[in-house]
């Protein structure tokens, strides 16, 4: 069972921080920083987990999530959504769109790692 994370995020420093954290936990980290072709990239990359930013150039994380859930083989893919907007209605919208876990920036590193572990554990059990 592979441990591959696809990180879709446009902020270079945040990419670097998350890559650092997950690499140390033995994750293979792929990154992509544009929203437009995100769904195709996910399908092609076949990750075990997706970490998705909301405010992305080209296409918002919400739309990517909704489109993602339309694709049968990706419908159950764990998605951890990170947003810098963090209003209540964003969380509601994300849950409606089928998010697996929703976190607001800035996050604590521990929380992110815990979330990734939980999501992965759930995915492997089912």
């Amino acid at each position: 069972m592979g441990r591959k994370v696809l990180l879709i995020e446009d902020e270079p420093n945040i990419i670097e921080a998350i890559r650092f954290l997950l690499t140390r936990e033995a994750w293979e980290v792929e990154t992509h920083s544009d929203g437009t072709d995100a769904v195709e990239v996910i399908r092609a990359s076949q990750p075990d987990l997706v970490i998705l930013d909301v405010m992305l150039p080209g296409k918002s994380g919400m739309d990517i999530l909704r489109d993602l859930r339309e694709v049968p083989e990706l419908a159950k893919l764990p998605v951890l959504m990170l947003t810098a907007r963090g209003q209540v209605r964003d969380r509601e919208e994300a849950e409606k769109a089928g998010v697996s876990r929703f976190m607001t920036k800035p996050f604590s590193n521990k929380e992110v790692l815990m979330a990734v572990r939980d999501l992965h554990a759930q995915a492997t059990q089912s």
Partner: protein, 899 residues
């Protein structure tokens, strides 16, 4: 011999008696016990103010000079009363139904309530009557002088006696004529006093006549013999003068303001005219009965050169009949006073109503708010008018010098006042008569009368050549021989021309002009006054179609209400079905109900149509049109209101939309701010936790992460600075620091600031010569804008060797500074957005949040200039403009306003 003192005492006593009578009559009228006051007898006697002192004294003089011609003065009114009483009845009916207050009011009312016409008639009347009043002053003065002459010890003065007579009459007229506060009321007191004076006149003249015939002459036959022997019987009758004077007297009888006052305004009951039609001619007959005998006897027994105008007085005096002379004096006094009082009353009403009050009201801006106020003013203006009219009479007397010049004034006054006749009679009987016609006739007649009668009458003031040769020697304009017609009696000539041309102008102008709607209505009401005048507009029991009434009512009231009303009425009548009988009571009720919906006139016309008992009159139709117009106006007002309402609703919707838009913008802005703040904070937190929690980090890694933390902290600071800056700039609370400086120095500072601490090499190309421009502005703010633009070029220029070119030049009063880099620029569709907040266009490069350009734009606006994207350049290009000619104007103004 009667002493002057006694005479004056008698006069005062007589006046006091008149006051008493007038007072009692008013009291009785107020208590409603005035039946005899309203008798036809009083009415007939009040008409006798036609007989003035001119008639009382002057008729004898007239007969002594011109024989039987004096009869024409009595003949005219007699013919009118007997032959034209139906015309007078129409006049009286109109006067009552239209609530007319004077002849000027009547003419004005007939011709569309024209104010101008009323003023014309008023002026004509005042000018005509003034000499006539002077004549009365003269006769009273002469009669006084006759007694003074017989009482040498009195030491009288002619001039002062005229003045006292005039003042006395003025006070008399004011006290009598304006006692009542309500100017519309009839003057019962005055009319009764005048009736008493009429009796005194008649008795005095008859007494003198009887004394002359039976006392002096020795019986009827002897008197007849004396008459035959005198010149009077031998006078030739001039048919032209007879006809003319008879006609004039008749016209004056109808048109004189004082006659109109007693005949129309003071009339209580138009049936009185029937009595007056025979009684008044009888009175005139009695008045004229002894004129010729007195004249004949006077000519015979009085010394040569004695004034025949005073025979009535001097004959008894010469015979030692002091008591009779006193009675004759009182008769003459009565004639003069009654005429002056009523004439002054009538004229003052006209002057006050048509000249003084309109001026007063318009001077107050139409704000006659308090009716009590207006009443006082009306009364005051009438009193002043009476005073002014008496003063005019007095001055006319003084200026004309009195004497014989006044003798002919009576007829001249008649001729003047007769100019009203065409407009009056035409207005009563011809619906085609118009305001323009009346005006044309009046003015034409008035001018010709002035020219042919009044002008030659002022003999001493005219040069003889003027009369004999005409003005400027134009012979056909000679006042007494117009258009070359000579050989006519001057009086006949004047009356003929003035009245013929007056009537012609009246007719022609009426035919050529179109009456206004109000004129049409008034014309119809005047001409057809007997067809639809006062009287209740009730329905009589005609057979109406109840069903038709029902159908009509349903349309107007609605089916339910109409049926309910008809059924309740049927029940009340005890009828079997649901349709009631169309009794008058029901029809009136129906009309009332309908008028609530469609207006009274329309309801009346509709019911009238169905009942069929009455045709719809012009008046009804006009009233309907009036109502419709009001409804139209009301509905158009409603329409305007509804348009206004929907307009307001639209504005509210717009405002609401705008608010919603602003609210969305605010939400979006907050989202943006949140994102822009949280993003650097995320990096800071993540790397600081890594530094804290991770063991065994390479030193180079530690440095790298610390640098990231530091950069992101700086980014946060910049963002907060920009936010605060923008908020201050947008709220207008910024205080600018305006200083003088050189553009080159500001650019130096900006370039070095923007490039310090940055590794990336950005070439800055400048043309220093063009930058040597003096500035008066907030140099720090300007530098802030420049720094922002250069930093942007540094961050976003994607050329291999990034460079920015700074160009400076003047253009149309503005200093223009262009920043053009050699990158790929900004796509056309996003150029407009770059100045919006957080509109970061390029996503490839990290960097400042998108507030920089928004701040730049705010700053430049505050400085009176602008910054915008410059299209059509090789790379990204921004243009900054500053006002150059008066650089301090806008900024200092704004700075002052901001502080």
């Amino acid at each position: 011999m009667t002493s002057v003192n006694l005479l004056i005492l008698v006069c005062i006593g007589y006046v006091a008696l008149l006051f008493g009578v007038a007072f009692m009559a008013d009291r009785m009228a107020a208590r409603g016990r005035s039946t005899w006051l309203r008798s036809p007898l009083i009415y007939t006697l009040s008409l006798s103010i036609y007989c003035t002192a001119w008639t009382f004294y002057g008729a004898v003089g007239y007969a002594a000079r011109s024989g039987l011609e004096y009869i024409t003065i009595y003949l005219g009114p007699t013919l009118v009363m007997i032959g034209w009483w139906w015309g007078l009845r129409k006049l009286v009916r109109i006067g009552r139904s239209q609530r007319v207050t004077s002849i000027a009011d009547l003419i004005s009312s007939r011709y569309g309530k024209s104010t101008f016409l009323a003023i014309c008639v008023t002026l004509l009347a005042v000018i005509s009557i003034t000499p006539y009043i002077a004549l009365q002053l003269q006769s009273i003065t002469l009669s006084f002088e006759t007694f003074f002459a017989a009482d040498p010890g009195s030491g009288y003065s002619s001039g002062s006696s005229v003045f006292w007579v005039a003042s006395g009459l003025a006070v008399f007229a004011i006290l009598f004529g304006t006692r009542n506060l309500d100017a519309n009321e009839r003057h019962h007191g005055v009319v009764t006093a005048i009736a008493l004076e009429a009796v005194v006149k008649l008795v005095a003249l008859l007494a003198v006549g009887i004394f002359v015939v039976w006392g002096l002459s020795g019986g009827v036959s002897q008197t007849m013999a004396r008459i035959d022997a005198s010149e009077i019987g031998a006078w030739q009758v001039d048919a032209g003068r007879w006809t003319t004077i008879t006609f004039l007297a008749a016209a004056a009888f109808v048109c004189l303001p004082r006659m109109f006052q007693v005949m129309v305004v003071e009339n209580d009951d138009e049936r009185h005219l029937r009595t007056a039609a025979w009684a008044f001619p009888t009175y005139l007959l009695l008045m004229s009965l002894f004129v010729v005998p007195i004249a004949a006897v006077g000519l015979e027994i009085m010394p040569d050169g004695s004034n025949p105008d005073l025979f009535v007085l001097t004959l008894p005096l010469s015979q030692g009949q002091d008591g009779l002379a006193m009675l004759a004096f009182l008769g003459g006094f009565s004639s003069a006073t009654s005429m002056v009082i009523v004439a002054a009353m009538a004229l003052s009403t006209m002057v006050s109503n048509h000249i003084v009050m309109p001026i007063w009201l318009s001077s107050r801006g139409g704000g006659a708010s308090q009716s009590g106020d207006v009443r006082k003013v009306v009364l005051l203006s009438r009193r002043l008018s009476i005073g002014a009219i008496m003063a005019l009479g007095y001055f006319y007397y003084r200026l004309s010098g009195g004497g014989a010049a006044l003798a002919s004034i009576g007829l001249i006054a008649f001729a003047g006042i007769a100019q009203i006749l065409p407009a009056l009679v035409g207005g009563l009987f011809w619906r085609g008569a118009t305001r323009t016609g009346a005006l044309a006739g009046l003015v034409t007649g008035f001018v010709l009368w002035l020219y042919t009668s009044l002008l030659p009458g002022m003999g001493s003031m005219m040069s003889g050549d003027f009369l004999a040769l005409g003005p400027f020697g134009i012979s056909w304009l000679r006042p007494q021989a117009l258009f070359g017609i000579t050989g006519l009696d001057p009086m006949v000539h004047s009356v003929m021309w003035s009245l013929i041309l007056n009537a012609t102008a009246f007719t022609v102008a009426s035919l050529l002009s179109f009456p206004s709607p109000l004129e049409r209505l008034q014309g119809a009401q005047f001409v057809n006054v007997f067809d639809h005048s006062v009287g209740p507009r009730g329905w009589t029991g005609s057979v109406a179609q109840s069903e038709d009434l029902m159908i009509m009512s349903q349309r107007i009231l609605g089916a339910n209400q109409a049926q309910a009303m008809f059924q309740s009425e049927a029940k009340r009548q005890g009828a079997d079905g649901h349709l009631p009988e169309p009794t008058p009571a029901f029809l009136e009720r129906l009309e009332r109900e309908l008028s609530g919906s469609v207006g009274a006139a329309t309801a009346h016309a509709m019911v009238g149509q169905i009942v069929g008992g009455s045709s719809v009159s012009v008046e009804d139709l006009l009233a309907v049109a009036d109502e419709s117009a009001q409804m139209l106006e009301y509905s158009s007002q409603l329409e305007i209101k509804s348009t206004e309402l929907s307009h307001t609703a639209g504005q509210l919707r717009e405002a609401n939309d705008k608010l919603m838009q602003i609210s969305h913008q605010k939400d979006a802005f907050l989202d943006q701010v949140s994102h822009e703040l949280r993003t650097p904070m995320t990096s800071i937190r993540a790397f600081s936790e890594i530094l804290r929690d991770t063991d065994g980090l390479e030193p180079s890694e530690k440095v790298r992460y610390a640098t990231i933390i530091n950069n992101e902290a700086l980014r946060l600071t910049r963002l907060l600075d920009d936010l605060l800056d923008l908020s201050v700039l947008e709220s207008g609370q910024v205080s600018l620091d305006i200083r003088g400086g050189i553009l080159a120095e500001v650019l130096d500072h900006a370039v070095s600031s923007a490039l310090s601490g940055e590794d990336a090499p950005l070439q800055v190309h400048r043309v220093t010569d063009s930058e040597n421009v003096a500035l008066l502005s907030d140099l720090d703010r300007l530098a802030q804008v420049f720094i922002n633009l250069i930093s942007n070029a540094q961050k976003y220029c994607d050329a291999r060797d990034p460079a920015v070119q700074i160009d400076v030049h003047q253009q149309a009063g503005f200093l223009v500074i262009d920043f053009i880099d050699n990158g790929s620029g900004i796509a056309a569709d996003t150029q407009a957005m770059v100045f919006e907040k957080f509109a970061r266009v390029s996503t490839d490069k990290a960097g400042g949040a998108g507030l920089g350009l928004a701040v730049c734009r705010e700053i430049m606006h505050r400085l009176g200039g602008d910054v915008r994207y410059l299209e059509g350049q090789a790379g990204g290009a921004f243009r900054v403009t500053l006002p150059s000619r008066q650089p301090n104007r806008q900024p200092s103004h704004r700075a002052a306003a901001a502080q």
